[in-house]
């Protein structure tokens, strides 16, 4: 079935909006920009720590364009949707209650030692 031009445009619009919200995992290098000591000081991106000392960041499409225009080299590794934490990673109330009951029962079962110094 032939799709209407209007539907295509709408779909493209939605895809572009989603793309703008995406976060890319990136490592940034000085590229054409001379590698000065402070080349990475004002990248204006969401940096994350890196154990090897690389300049790693979560960047948007707009960040990517800006960095490339500045002459920097950007290597992209992965893309993430803008979404909340996967609900499967959140402790359910049932599981939480079971954990808490266990903790509290263990605590209740023991009176504790006589302190070195009484309060």
């Amino acid at each position: 079935m032939k799709r209407s031009k209007k539907a295509d445009t709408k779909q493209r619009g939605e895809r572009n909006a989603a793309l703008l919200k995406m976060r890319f995992e990136a490592t940034i290098y000085p590229g054409r920009k001379a590698e000065t000591k402070d080349w990475a000081d004002d990248l204006n991106v969401d940096r994350v720590p890196d154990s090897k000392g690389e300049v790693r960041a979560l960047i948007t499409v707009e960040d990517l364009v800006r960095l490339l225009e500045q002459g920097l080299e950007v290597r992209l590794f992965r893309v993430h949707a803008s979404e909340p934490l996967d609900p499967a990673l959140i402790v359910t109330d049932t599981s939480f209650k079971r954990w808490l009951d266990e903790q509290v029962n263990t605590l209740k079962a023991q009176p504790g030692p006589k302190p070195f110094i009484e309060s």
Binding site: R23, E25, D38, A40, D41, D42, L43, N44, V45, D46, R47, V48, P49, D50, S51, K52, G53, R56, L58, I59, T60, E62, D63, F77, R78, H80, S82, E83, P84, L85, D86, L89, I90, V91, D93, S95, F96, L100, Q103, V104, T106, L107, K108, A109, Q110, P111, G112, P113, P115, F116, I117, E118, S119
Partner: protein, 488 residues
């Protein structure tokens, strides 16, 4: 798996209700969205004006593991104490006596989730997994959020790779409208102002680092001035002058390195992960300002009337290929165990045996001992070696002393004598009786010590003590400052 804000709050409430003699809950400033932010204090037994440690987690919303780890640690400590069973995370272990000493000589403060609104935003439908800041609605902009760990009153609005003045920057490092404008940051200030905090740690993720000041500039140990108090701040400009290096007394730097090494050793003992020691500046190799750790450590320099607090930060968990997995691993349990072990090691390092016996127990002072240590031993590497020898075994020895009333009494009496000798150290001479008393006391400790290193440390001290009879106190300490202690 990660707990919600409601679950974290319920856990604190249950702990406090179950063990009110051990745990106290304190409501701090409400969050931007009006949530009550709670701190928790753990302590057992009596004694006033104890040393305190403050453990903070969840300042950055997306770093989900740490609030869970801190809450679990609170339960673990309370259970280990009440059941007299000790603590174990993998291969890192603490005896029941170790836990008893921690719980009964310190006030252990925890702020498990400093930024509850941010955590809620990460988890709620419509939220963002990678949200870092609080949920401040920045007036006049469509952009939300202030980074609480760039909002503290230290070199505020001096910009760098992760510190920005634009609320709409994707950096997620907006500094806010004023220092401590954000309750999530101001609660650190509140706790430090209202309670005795000697050691501080802000737990972040990720990359497996144990961090300490400074963050705004590289650290140097030779030129005290100019220091940060004379630098420009508040103008949204980079650090000025650009090459500034911030002073830290070499003795503080050594203390940071020593304690951080012990923390990293404890973490390694869990399952072999290697946490690396760095300054906060080294994390991004650039100026990082307004952080809680720098603020807390800088307080005594900005205002000499305030107590010095040694402030650390952890970056928990490895830097994986996938950033989302690094922040929010599917299985955070092994990393939480590393973190808990590091925190217990830091708690144990916060104990000062001499201060507890001489001041908290006796309501006296050990100031002259502190001064003699700082003036005669601290300035030399060899002298610091002797301090290190004592601090490496003091927590276990304190437990032995406190477990026996007769030993405690003798420790108080001996410390009182040492205090008097140290107070007149230029004239006072150590008598044969002093030596005899000291050796007899240390031998009693040695016979009860469980670890060979502790017995060896006592033997080393005893050998020095035997040579002390008839010697002036100052001469003994000066000699120690020039001789290396044998390695344990």
């Amino acid at each position: 798996m990660y707990r919600t804000i409601a679950q974290l709050d319920a856990a604190i409430e249950s702990l406090v209700n179950t063990k009110p003699d051990l745990c106290t809950r304190v409501a701090l400033h409400n969050s931007v969205e009006g949530r009550t932010i709670f701190a928790l204090r753990l302590r057992a037994g009596g004694g006033t004006d104890r040393r305190g440690i403050l453990i903070v987690g969840g300042m950055h919303a997306r770093e989900l593991m740490n609030p869970d780890a801190i809450i679990e640690l609170a339960f673990d400590l309370a259970q280990a104490y009440t059941s007299e069973s000790g603590l174990a995370y993998g291969g890192a272990q603490w005896s029941a006596l170790d836990v008893k000493v921690m719980m009964e000589t310190l006030d252990i403060w925890m702020l498990p989730c400093a930024n509850p609104d941010g955590r809620n935003h990460v988890m709620k439908p419509g939220g963002q997994w990678d949200w870092r800041m609080n949920r401040r609605d920045n007036p006049g902009t469509p952009c939300d959020g202030v980074d609480p760990n760039r909002n503290c009153d230290f070199m505020w609005r001096v910009i760098g790779p992760t510190t920005v003045c634009d609320p709409c920057s994707t950096t997620q490092g907006f500094v806010g409208s004023l220092p401590f404008s954000e309750p999530e940051a101001n609660n650190i200030h509140l706790l430090c102002d209202t309670h005795r905090i000697d050691v501080f740690v802000d737990v972040h993720s990720f990359s497996e680092f144990v961090l300490f000041p400074w963050g705004h500039a590289p650290t140097q140990t030779t030129q005290p001035l100019p220091n940060f108090t004379s630098l420009l701040m508040g103008f949204c400009r980079p650090l000025d002058p650009p090459g500034h290096q911030e002073f830290m007394p070499p003795t503080d730097q050594l203390k940071y390195q020593t304690v951080a090494t012990r923390v990293a050793d404890a973490i390694r003992a869990v399952r072999g992960r290697n946490y690396v020691l760095k300054t906060i500046f080294q994390v991004y190799n650039g100026t990082t300002t307004g952080t809680s750790s720098d603020y807390v450590y800088s307080r005594h320099i900005a205002n000499p009337a305030l107590r010095k607090t040694f402030a650390f930060a952890f970056e928990t968990g490895p830097a994986l290929g996938d950033i989302r997995q690094s922040f929010q691993p599917t299985d955070p349990e092994p990393i939480k165990n590393d973190t808990k072990a590091g925190l217990v090691a830091l708690i144990q390092q916060s104990i000062c045996a001499i201060e507890f016996i001489g001041e908290t127990l006796q309501a006296g002072t050990v100031e002259s001992i502190r001064v003699a240590r700082d003036e005669l031993l601290l300035p030399t590497e060899k002298g610091r070696g002797w301090i290190e020898l004592v601090t490496s075994v003091q927590a276990e020895l304190l437990g032995t002393v406190l477990s026996d009333k007769a030993l405690t009494k003798r420790a108080i009496s001996l410390l009182s004598r040492v205090h008097k000798l140290a107070a007149k150290r230029d004239k006072a001479t150590v008598s044969a009786r002093d030596v005899e008393d000291g050796i007899e006391f240390l031998e009693s400790l040695k016979s009860r010590a469980t670890r060979p290193e502790v017995r060896e440390a006592i033997s080393i001290v005893n050998r020095q003590l035997k040579k002390a009879a008839g010697q002036p106190v100052e001469a003994i300490l000066k000699k120690l400052a020039k001789s290396n202690p044998p390695k344990l």
